[in-house]
Each structure stands twice: as structure tokens, then as C-alpha cells.
Subunit: 253 residues, 2 copies
Amino acid sequence: MQGEETASAANMSAVLEFDSDTAKHEQVRTRLIEVIATMNTGDQLPSERELAAQFGVSRMTLRQAISSLARAGYVSRLQGAGTFVIDRTISKNTELTGFTEDMAARGFNASSRLLKVERVAAGAFLGHELILSPEEMVFHIERVRMADGIPMCLETIDLPADLTPDLDQQPLEKSLYAILATTYGIELFEADQIITPTVVNQEQARLLQVPIHSPALIVKRIGFDRKRRPIEHAISIYRGDRYDIRLVIKRRE
Amino acid sequence: MQGEETASAANMSAVLEFDSDTAKHEQVRTRLIEVIATMNTGDQLPSERELAAQFGVSRMTLRQAISSLARAGYVSRLQGAGTFVIDRTISKNTELTGFTEDMAARGFNASSRLLKVERVAAGAFLGHELILSPEEMVFHIERVRMADGIPMCLETIDLPADLTPDLDQQPLEKSLYAILATTYGIELFEADQIITPTVVNQEQARLLQVPIHSPALIVKRIGFDRKRRPIEHAISIYRGDRYDIRLVIKRRE
DNA sequence: TTCCATAAGTGGTCCTTACCAATGTGGAGA
DNA sequence: TCTCCACATTGGTAAGGACCACTTATGGAA
């Protein structure tokens, strides 16, 4: 044996240089992902003590980074044995992403066709969902979302208008999440989703270019910021023949 | 103000007594859930330093417990502000559970009707999914799963026979996960799921007591143990009119 | 009265040290 | 040759201290 693990360990930068404005465990995490990318499924990582020494951080900090990777499904830890690289062919859809990122992860190029943008009163239902008074204004957006030019989903989104002034002036063919982040400084922190099955009606069939009554998934989502204030209400209808939802579910950690 | 937070803090047991064979942070977590149950949505928990002192543990240990609760959606932490109780009306379906637990969480009583148990060769497809040679034996189980006596889903499960000898002698109307844990000492650690929409055929419609061509969800799951060895392959068809899948998705933590 | 700097309090990060628990291995003994 | 057990190694838990980043309430200045 020539020590493959030791070899890949040697590839790691000896004692990382750290940004002062990003948490060390974040930077270690990022660096570890790069390292893992060069390894194969089942390979063992160097021990925590060894990695900590190499990165020049405490073992606690190193563990924080590895814990995050374990949750995200990059590695698996076994007490007494070691930390091992996990097969990454399964999509890791437990993290909150927009359509654009989601499609990128599946190897497609996301685009969209804007059907409608309007500024309207929330009304009773949306007011309840977004915790607004029914008179408050929301932006109402309807889009067809496409992957490599093929229609994948119909999207209906409503956002409180006071959070996103002039949203209707923005390039809504692009990623909404990107616009929210860069233009308005709004970042979604978590979202509640409810998934149900349906069959498409005539109008939906036309827009999605599938036969009428084809199976489809309805995904209803309410997105929240870090303070759990509702930011968006979205209902998406995904065609069932080209789209599925993949999850990795873990026992409590 | 009479200090509601201080009052509920006073309700907490001063300095917990600890089991020696369960991790402290686990026990703190359990105790905290009880405390949270007595509080209202939006209430602020005592500070970490205060809680740590009350439980008689270090702040690190206390933080470990609270981090777990934050991931599970019990509380929300805000740097500089505090830790707050989150609305628990939303189901927290991000944790791996069996049908029995899932239904209990929704307030239903789970039961099942056994349609078939047999011991057969895995074959090419299942062999691939479960990483067995096609000749190896698996237990093949088909069940109708019911909530308060109403059919909710059709379940087809296959498990490697050598892991679970005499599985066909077990009471398979009960929770399979419970049997795996108690009789065979097998615990599922994580599962990969793929969710797709469909419409039921005549046979499925009969078993689920819904009209033919009703929308339904297909959930394909492969369950793994802690070493990521495949334990079960399951395909479940849930009726769409009485069942949905609820998720809370978070940004990376 | 309004506004803003500030102090106090909160969660977030990071380090060090120590020991526990599970795993796998290699050598002693049968 | 085989079995079994002590032991080194791995990840897991825990305490305690120090400081940072952020929020909020407060009190003084305009």
C-alpha cells in the first residue's frame, strides 16, 4: 500500500489562510468539499485530529465543518472507524433552492416565459397565508419555467409589495431568488412545502405541452426569512413525466 | 410586566438528574421539548447561559441540544435577540419516520392489511437497488396501509432475507420499522426518496377505494443503515385526495 | 419630542483539554 | 491454524473560557 489517503491528504493546502469576515468552519467546509470532490465513493478521510492540524484549526471547529457536510450528505461518520465519502449521484434536494439552482443541479439550463405581472390587493386567502391585511398590495407573478427550453412547470408567485418595490420593473425571466438577494437584500431562510398530486386541465396542458389529464405535482410553498416572516407564496405545477422530487431523509442528528 | 419568561423558566427543573447511558445533550433536548410544549408561539426562551446554568451543563452542551431543536423546527435563533418558540402546527416531516409514526403525527391510528408475503430471489432490478446478487433471497411484502380504517396507501416492500430471518413469521400488520428494531436490532438511519405523480389503475383504485384514474403519489424509497448498507426497498402509492407530503426546507445550517 | 450613540444582553465562533465509546487489528494463547 | 482479547485509533461528549457580531432598550443630546 502506498497510502492513498495520505496522498490525497498531502494535496490539501497546509494551514489555510483565512478570510477574517467569514467563519473559519465555513471556510474549512468549503475547502473540504473541494478535497472530497477529488476522492472516490467510500474513501476514508484523514482523521479529525489530523485534518484539524492540517487546516490549523481546533478539532471542534473542524468537527463543525464535517457535521455540516454529514448533514448535507457529503460524508458519513462512524464512531471508531472513520469518516467516509458518500456516493454523490443522488441529488441532495434537502436544501432550499430556487428553480434555477434546482435545474442546474440536474444538468439543465433554466429559463422562463413571463405570463403575467401585476400589483393587486392580497385578498383574504393570500392575506392569511402571508400574514398581511387583505387590502395590502402584493406582486402577482405567473411564469412558465423551462429546462433546456422544455416547459417543466407553471409557477404562480405572490410577494408582499412593500418588501419589493418596483418588482414589476425587474427582469423576471431570470431567477427570482437572485433578484431578491441582489436587488432587495432579501434571503429566504426556510420554506414550508406541501406536495400533492393532480392531473392537468386543458389550459395547463397547453402551457406545459402535455396531454390533458397528465399526472403532475402541485408544490405549494411559503418562503420565510430568518425571522420567519413570510416572503413569498408560490404554487408550482410540475409535469410528472419529466420531473420528480428527490429527498434524502435522515434520522434526527 | 410580571416576567412571563422568568415564570416559565422557574418551572424548569433545577439541575437535571442525568442518566449515565444517554448523552447529556439528548436529555437536555428532551427536557427542553417538554418546556417548549408549555410555551406559546413567539415566546422567548431564557438565554443560553441561563439555561445552561439551570440544567447544570456547559453552554456548549446546551447549544448542542438547542441546535438540534432549531434543525427540527421547534425554535428559531436570532443572534443578538434570543431564541423563540416556533409555530408547531406545521408537520415536521423532514425526519425519517415509518407510516405508523407519520400517521400518529397527523392524529390518525395506523393499521394495515397484509396482502402478500413471500420469500423470493431478488432478481436483476432489486438486486441492483439493494446491492445483492440477483440470486439472493428477499422478503417481498405487499400491504394496504390504513389511517383510522381508511385506506391511505399501497405498499410494496423488499428486504434482504439474510438480514431478517423468519420475517414472514412476524406480525406484519404492525409497524415494520418496530419489528426491524426490536426483533432484528436494525435501525434505519437514512433514506433516499423519489416522489412522482401518477393516476391509479383499476386494481389500485379497488384497493384504495377511490375512482379509477384518481391522482396519487408514488414514493420510492431505499432505506439505509448507519453504514449506508441498503436495508429496504419500498414503493408506496398514496391516494392524492387524503394525503400530502409536507416538508420544511432550510438553507444550509 | 425626536433622534442617535451607547451599553447591556443575546446568540455565534473558536480554542484547549480531557475523557468516553465504538471499531478494527495484531499478537498471544489454545 | 484458529480464536480471542488488549490496545491503538477513530469519532463522540463535555466542560470552561474568551471574544465577536448583532439586536434592543435606554438615556442623553439636539
